[in-house]
Symmetry: C2
Subunit: 214 residues, 2 copies
Amino acid sequence: MEAAILLFDRLTALDAVGPYEVLRQIPGAQVRFVAKELGPKRTDAGSLALMADYALKDISSPDIIVIPGGPGQADLMEDRVILDWIRQIHTTTHWTTSVCTGALILAAAGLLQGLRATTHWLALHVLLLRQLGAEAVSERVVVQGKIITAAGVSAGIDMALTLTALEYGEEVAQAIQLSLEYDPQPPFNAGSPGKAPATIVERVRSRSRFKVPA
Amino acid sequence: MEAAILLFDRLTALDAVGPYEVLRQIPGAQVRFVAKELGPKRTDAGSLALMADYALKDISSPDIIVIPGGPGQADLMEDRVILDWIRQIHTTTHWTTSVCTGALILAAAGLLQGLRATTHWLALHVLLLRQLGAEAVSERVVVQGKIITAAGVSAGIDMALTLTALEYGEEVAQAIQLSLEYDPQPPFNAGSPGKAPATIVERVRSRSRFKVPA
């Protein structure tokens, strides 16, 4: 099994590293980090760089592709080379996936046309407003044929475990979950806008780069 | 606020990136990745490198230190330079923390003497057997004064949110949790040895680098 995870400047690290940590444990897995150009890619806060060991031309037919999100997603949505590459890769993948605002990149590539899809809760309206053809839904992980989209940041872990169970069986997924000791115990029940206090939702929304039109 | 996250070869990426993604969002936070030598550090599977921008000598008094785990932890437990640095840093931190088998490194530095502490479930017996003086407990996040230890891999997210709430208040922690959309929905209830099917526990245990003595 070969998986490729796309890196780019100003990505959100956990969007990429959550799925990586799951997929790398699939028996026989080769996970490769790919970017338009080789080298370190700085994440959104700037204080961490993840290394891309492969350029786009080096990766032609992975079984799984993961598109993470983060502020840099806006640039990728306008990048013809990246979008062409994603469309080409998608023709032969077993699974084409996104985490967080990576769904907007898949949408810009035209791959979410007519499909239910999810993204970070702050960006759901963008998936709709841009008329990219997706039906934006507020769910954690959305499976549509071979396309899987996940909600914000941490949802990539749930997405990758779901994919693993679908493709390699529940026992493989459970063993990986146990090995990551993924028995989450968040100290608060504040992880989604429907659960967090309204004041917290407004605080986070006010800092969002995705403005809700009046 | 200044936080430092230790990197080393053969660390587990999510151990470091989970806390990073939380801590970087604390208002005014500066998160720095530090290693014995500057440059890329390869994670356990080898297919991802995280960049260390700072050497040990560059980091002298962070408010928070995070020690992740991973197979490379065994080398660090024998590394006098690393252990001396951790002990020195610890004298002025507000919080000294570990994720996964990072607790074994803290223990080797002598910092867990007489304290309740946790680590990856596969390594709990090591924390005891090596007579490093800790009382190993099977809990997700253990707070002992200014030392916080977390269970395996994904527990670093819960640890960092707990720390954030203690130091910066519950509202700051909740806003970060919401921004990470950390509303976990694992597809299985298999994230700890007490919850996973016994066959899965045995499968994962049989591959562990930590052998349980007969």
